[in-house]
């Protein structure tokens, strides 16, 4: 069972990398962040104040863009028929693919946050807190995304629908994540345990509920 899980996860990562998806998403993050000073003006104090919120929003956008590839490709080329025949429950298949998605897309994004943060004049000392907050929210973001991606499957070319379905689900994570990190940054990089705790709670809840919901949606889409 563990071997199958790791194999699915590995395959998802390998394909995300080979199809250039990881590179595209990371480039998107950089381009979006680079555009910010052009839109907001080169005022360093303003950029610094807005930086955590901007980074969070751009991070969410990048993730939303990537969700389209979570199950869609597998559905189109018939891989899902094969997955459904594997000696493993659909819930675990969802988890394996979500883990693959997290490792192949979220982790590279997270690694880019310090560099993107410097473009927004963020304090280097507050970067660890920001990244830790993002990391805490990441499982919730990936797994909630899996629900949306699975729900939108029955409709062909449903990238936009996935985004619309998932965006409202991301709101609580964004509120706690962004306000938490900007408070932590203004207080000089102090870790706020309450925010981290709430994000971790959301992630744990998503870890429990999302595979059930996404697997149910996948079974409906499989006909």
């Amino acid at each position: 069972m563990m071997g199958i899980f790791m194999s699915l996860c590995h395959q998802h990562m390998l394909l995300a990398w080979r199809s250039g998806h990881t590179t595209l998403i990371v480039s998107f993050l950089f381009i979006a962040i680079t555009l910010m000073p052009f839109g907001l003006g080169p005022e360093l104090a303003l950029l610094r104040k807005l930086a955590p919120g901007l980074l969070w929003v751009v991070m969410l956008m990048s993730l939303l863009l990537s969700l389209d590839r979570m199950f869609q490709a597998d559905f189109e080329d018939g891989t899902f028929d094969q997955l459904a025949l594997l000696p493993m429950p659909m819930e675990l298949i969802v988890l394996a693919k979500s883990l693959g998605h997290f490792l192949a897309l979220f982790v590279p994004l997270l690694i880019c946050v310090p560099v993107a943060g410097l473009l927004l004049n963020i304090d280097a000392s507050s970067l660890p807190v920001l990244m830790l907050t993002m990391l805490m929210g990441a499982p919730a973001l990936t797994l909630l995304g899996a629900i949306g991606a699975a729900l939108a499957l029955s409709i062909r070319r449903s990238a936009m629908l996935t985004v619309l379905l998932v965006m409202p689900l991301y709101v609580p994570v964004l509120i706690f994540g962004a306000t938490g990190s900007s408070r932590a940054i203004s207080s000089g990089g102090e870790i706020e345990l309450a925010t981290l705790g709430i994000l971790a709670l959301m992630s744990l809840a998503a870890l429990f509920m999302a595979p059930l919901a996404a697997a149910a949606a996948l079974r409906v889409a499989l006909r």
């Binding site: 069972m1 071997g3 199958i4 194999s7 699915l8 590995h10 395959q11 390998l14 394909l15 080979r18 199809s19 189109e76 080329d77 018939g78 891989t79 899902f80 028929d81 094969q82 997955l83 459904a84 025949l85 594997l86 000696p87 499989l222 006909r223």
Partner: protein, 221 residues
């Protein structure tokens, strides 16, 4: 890992194996595809399913694989591996969509397939599939017929009693068709069971079922 080059794993499935459909009906959306379908396939039998386009051949195979719920009636299995198991764990399904990834090489595809099915120690000799020397080629660069051959690797990797083959001869050359026949022959000898939807005559078929809305014809060949 020891490379164990297998042509066909000698397994023997339970001789009590059977697949039975009772009063089976199928609907796609609001449209009824077929109804009152009854048949029984026993171990060692291959059923060729014929019918016009839209008569429900693919739907029948997908129903057996558990992808699609019957509108009415029941499907029952018996035999391997245990009575309570999901139908899915009995079946191999090869459909129109090949389930292959263009960005993997041929040998990676076989390797992932083996690991996904939990059959780590099985290595497939690509020359059996007529793909010798293509191991490092990207699947996206293969021809349609070569992709069909690569799909067959799944049948060899994990022994499962029921093979559901949708248009197995599509895009294959004469040798490819011979390969399918050979594999099917071995599978039937092992006590397996095959359902194949086709528009062409299948030499390995022992029975023939023609789907036609609600009067279906089943003949032993």
């Amino acid at each position: 890992m020891v490379q164990q080059q297998v042509f066909f794993q000698a397994v023997s499935f339970s001789d009590k194996l059977f697949l039975q459909a009772e009063d089976l009906a199928c609907a796609r959306g609001a449209r009824d595809v077929f109804s009152s379908l009854n048949f029984r396939v026993n171990a060692g039998d291959a059923l060729a399913v014929y019918g016009t386009n839209g008569s429900g051949k693919t739907s029948l195979l997908r129903m057996i694989a558990g992808f699609l719920a019957p509108r009415a009636g029941s499907l029952s299995f018996s035999g391997e591996p245990d009575e309570q198991a999901e139908p899915a764990s009995y079946c191999h399904y090869l459909g129109h969509a090949d389930g292959l990834k263009a960005n993997l090489t041929v040998s990676e595809t076989v390797d992932f397939s083996a690991r996904n099915f939990g059959q780590l120690d099985t290595m497939i000799d690509l020359s059996v599939l007529g793909l010798a020397g293509h191991g490092d080629q990207m699947v996206g660069d293969l021809s349609a017929g070569q992709k069909r051959r690569l799909m067959l690797a799944r049948l060899l990797i994990a022994p499962r009693p029921i093979w559901l083959l949708d248009e197995p001869l599509t895009a294959l050359d004469t040798q490819g068709r011979d390969l399918i026949e050979t594999l099917a022959g071995y599978h039937l000898q092992c006590g397996g069971l095959i359902l194949a939807a086709s528009h062409e005559a299948l030499n390995f078929a022992t029975h023939q079922l023609t789907l036609k809305r609600n009067h279906h014809a089943m003949v032993a060949l």
